[in-house]
Amino acid sequence: MNGLLEVDGMNFPESLKWCEEYIDVAASAAGAQRFGKEREKAAKSLISLGWPTKKDELWRYTDLGPYQSKNLSLPVNGAGQIKTELLDKIPFPRMVFINGIYSDIHSDCAAFNGASVFRLGDPASLYNCSAALDKAFQLSNAKESFFLSMNGALFTDILGIVVTDSLERLHIVHLNNSSGAAILPRMLIIVDGGGKLGLSEYYFGEGEGYVFNEVTELFIGEGAQVELSSIVDEGSASFHISQIFVEQQSSANLSLNLLCKGGGSVRQESYISLEGEHCKAQVRGLSVMESSALSDNLVEMKHSKPNSRSSQKFKGVYSGSSAGVFRGTIIVEKEAIGTEAYQSHDSILLTDTASATTLPHLKIWADEVKCSHGATVGQLDDESIFYLRSRGIAEDEARKILLNGFMKDVLDEVECSVVKDNFVACKLEQSLLSGGK
């Protein structure tokens, strides 16, 4: 039996009718048969779960209505319309995906020493990577959710990165412009013991009503180090969800930096499981949102073994009627003594109609641990603005300086200057200042 047959004739409800055509195409994509079972399981779960609604605690702040009532479609090849100037500042090695479809002409990712990059859809690239592919779905299978299932049922390709030694920096760019499409990339990253990986991800979009739904699985071996920084600047009427599942072995080190400066509804879920001792995991988020955008972050940090440290530090600047949500969970298993786990969420609201919400959740089963959480919400401080003005600095400039000051400690941790510069550039300044009035 092949993958195609297993999902054939599956009965999708009205709100997911579009999946019927989609799944046929996806299941017959190159290499797809290998994951037929996973696809079938995900499709079943997709049907039984159905679209989440605002009654669902985890989706209280998100309006999925516009997407639910839509017949989402397979992405069109948007290469003709792509604004390639977005790529000008992003160096090589890089991989570019346009509406989730790999764009050979914009990418250059020649052979690496100490790392290999492959795609399920490119049989030639799979040489030697078969064993790595066995790990796909291992981490994501631990959870079940609508969007996870949507990706599992309908993904058309898997991008794989295996680092045996070191890959200093790889840039992965997603350019989205296919209105009404469901774009469903999937990534599998394995960094072997002692390896080192720097990864930068860019999500640039325009166009209306598309859903971008990415699932990433990241295995970090003993003593390995990963720095992953991403920047989201999606279309203003789009739904973006990225879910990353991380497993860290002893002494593994993760620095995950999630920057967001635009989109309609942006949801970032990070599930990190510290499976060894002396791990370090730092997740930071920085969102600058305007108009009616939503930045919804969820982190689940699980300490299973003793003596690991983790921190979740999220910051946001909200103008217009935009909103920020941070749901941070810390789980410390009974065995995980000597754990240190911190989280914080600090927000600046530039308008009365903007909002910020913090939903911390601590589940601590071990003794002798250090855990803390905290949240602040405020405006730009008038005294501080006055101090700067009294030194000759114009009011708009003063606000900008203070906001940059607020964001500094998160930005300082982003290793990739391309991501950092992109975040700080252009748009940001304008929206900050006008939003503050």
């Binding site: 401080d381 005294e383 501080s384 006055f386 101090y387 700067l388 003005r389 009294s390 030194r391 000759g392 600095i393 114009a394 009011e395 400039e397 300086i401 203070l402 940059n404 000051g405 607020f406 964001m407 500094k408 400690d409």
Partner: protein, 254 residues
């Protein structure tokens, strides 16, 4: 006669929607003059300083303030600074994440821009600030830190003086910059004032203080005593020691 730089006449002011704090203040400062203001806690000295630099917590109900012949009260705080007014705050605020040298350079270049001057390049600026910082005992390392964050009381005061020296105002108000400072640090303030005067002897200073010792180092031309929002006595520098000996009661009575 020397030209008037700052003229405060019949100034009444209150906290917005609150009670009156300044109840008739008259002070005239001419080119090259140093004035001292003394007075008990709560007299309104900082309020006067804040009104001069343009804090909008207060409203002026009566009186005028002219700076170099122009109506000061109609200007924004940044305009006042750009025109050459400076206030060393009694309680400087902390600016988390705002790196000191960047802040001072932005301020300096904003003022230069308003004067029609080209911005100072990074190298020139660095040279200038390290010279002044070492003269005023501000550690270079402090310039890389966030403005005032985690600074000691004395360090904050020195930092205000450094900003003054860098921004090179025509008229500087120092609001209790001497309070809580040791003798060495007091000399730093005197040094800061002297540096500016050397560059242009027409520069003016208004020293708000509780102590005569700073006025012994920076010899004022005039001393005013403020009690309950009014200048109750003005005189030469001898007044400072008299006030310190006899107390403010005496100043009010006499």
């Amino acid at each position: 006669m020397a030209k008037t730089v700052l003229r405060i006449a019949g100034l009444h002011a209150r906290v917005k929607g609150g009670s009156e704090i300044l109840k008739g203040v008259d002070i005239e400062v001419c080119e090259g003059e140093i004035h001292g203001i003394m007075g008990p806690n709560g007299a309104g000295k900082s309020t006067l300083a804040n009104i001069l630099i343009g804090k909008d917590d207060y409203e002026v109900t009566e009186g005028v303030v002219e700076f170099l012949g122009e109506d000061l009260l109609s200007m924004s705080p940044e305009e006042r600074a750009q025109k050459g007014l400076f206030l060393a705050f009694q309680y400087p605020v902390e600016l988390p994440g705002v790196v000191g040298s960047y802040f001072i350079r932005t301020a300096l270049n904003s003022i230069r821009k308003a004067k029609g001057l080209k911005p100072l390049g990074l190298r020139e600026f660095n040279k200038m600030i390290s010279e002044k910082a070492s003269l005023l005992g501000v550690k270079e390392e402090m310039l890389k830190r966030s403005v005032n964050e985690g600074f000691s009381g004395g360090e904050k005061k020195r930092y205000e003086v450094l900003q003054m020296a860098m921004l090179d105002p025509i008229f500087a108000v120092l609001d209790e910059t001497d309070s809580g400072l040791d003798v060495d640090a007091l000399k730093v303030i005197a040094e800061g004032v002297n540096v500016l005067r050397k560059s242009d002897p027409r520069k003016c200073f208004l020293m708000i203080t509780h102590y005569q010792r700073v006025l012994d180092l920076i010899l004022p031309d005039k001393v005013h005593v403020m009690v309950d929002g009014k200048i109750v006595k003005s005189g030469d520098r001898g007044l400072a020691s008299e006030v310190e000996d006899k107390g403010y009661e005496w100043a009010v009575g006499g």
